[in-house]
């Protein structure tokens, strides 16, 4: 036939639904506004609830929606730009960063962490758990590993409350020579999820950083950022001022 193909690859329902909802969010809803519940929405669009949920899941992954059990689905604000350095080479937690220390223990890290640190397989290191907070929301859960050899001046007996601050103080006194970073997609484990106020399995951006001093790795940080609410920024120039909504429209066009 001489006619053009109408739809050689028929679009899945949930994909079309996602587009429709995305447009509706731009034109008919305000940030923070609550959507109709899933059963009503599914009925309104004439699909099964599971199909609707497939569309909602994608929109949540893209940071357009926020869903909370027992509450409802709300329109998410634009993603927060979160600087993850290297902003004028600095030790983690130095400066006026909103990091909150949640605890500190000395423990043998996982094999992969020990490999990054260059420590022995059975060597205990200072392990500091921290939370990063922006605009009153937790955005990241971090585990900071500091070998004992990096902070030799540490006094032997410390109260739990004094432990983390003392390690950080010693660490910040070292000359920082360089840093390394890697970013990959992961899913939140139970402990991190709790700290991030999300369910286990929520998508996160895992940032693994190595800090160098005296030609060695002086510390390693594994920080898991909420992928739905955060946009990680790198580099020395100013933060991107474009809003998330504009970027979405850019992608859609």
């Amino acid at each position: 036939m001489g006619t053009t193909q109408l739809e050689s690859v028929p679009e899945p329902k949930y994909w079309h639904l996602k587009t429709v909802l995305n447009d509706a969010l731009d034109s008919e809803f305000e940030v923070g506004e609550i959507l109709p519940n899933e059963r009503d929405l599914a009925a309104r669009f004439g699909v099964a609830r599971a199909t609707l949920r497939q569309a909602l899941e994608q929109l949540e992954l893209e940071g357009r929606l926020q869903r909370r059990r027992g509450v409802g689905t709300t329109v998410a604000p634009p993603r927060m730009g979160v600087s993850v350095g290297p902003a004028a080479h600095a030790w983690p937690g130095a400066g006026r960063d909103a990091w909150e220390t949640a605890g500190c223990v000395e423990a043998v890290p996982a094999a992969a962490i020990a490999a990054l640190l260059g420590t022995g397989a059975d060597e205990a290191v200072h392990t500091i758990r921290r939370a990063r907070v922006m605009r009153g929301q937790p955005v990241a859960a971090e585990l900071l590993y500091v070998p004992r050899s990096s902070v030799p001046g540490l006094s032997a007996d410390l109260t739990p409350a004094a432990h983390a601050p003392a390690v950080l103080r010693e660490l910040h006194a070292l000359p920082l020579e360089g840093e390394d970073r890697a970013v990959e997609l992961g899913s939140a484990r139970a402990e991190d999820a709790k700290q991030l106020d999300r369910l286990p399995g929520a998508p996160v951006l895992v940032v693994t950083s190595r800090y160098y001093s005296a030609g060695r790795v002086a510390a390693v940080s594994v920080a898991t950022y909420r992928a739905d609410t955060c946009k990680l920024t790198f580099g020395d120039a100013g933060a991107f001022e474009v809003t998330h909504h504009q970027e979405d429209r850019a992608q859609a066009s």
Copy 2:
């Protein structure tokens, strides 16, 4: 009662299933090996196929599995470390990077891109579509936006084949003063998905870069990386040599 709670928060089946499968992948399967099909696996674990798929989806998101329609589910190799600069300040595509130009047009970009570039809302810019290939696999689809004012020396009439190389040549001749970067989670649109050999909606890491020259934004790049197969690396030090499997075990411990 004086007994401790057994499970105040009962673990979802798919979550437990994911753990079991993850361990099995480490101990009983080789990279590239094909798993039993979903119907058999579901029956073996005594769950519905949808529940099994929920576990498989998470494992695929974490880069442990690769699923292809009509073929089957295979054990994925460790994620590739992909450098996304700033590696000795360089224009995109300079050096021996495995970028393949797919096309080039002059078009008015989306409003968000125009805002990043600082161009007028109706101003056409050179738009180059490229693919980044590593180890024979496509890892990223990129759109590179170059305003006409950044490459004033460009001859007016160019054949389509000569267009992109000419723009890149002019761009690389400029002095690069700095760069900006942001990383966020997104889902692949149809065009990018095709280029990445994935289905639309596949999770991607969107890297937005601004390149500065003469105090202005000389080019903007929006690159979407396959989130399942890529680990983005930043910084000047050598690449992380830890394998993905080790990292997974580190997370799990």
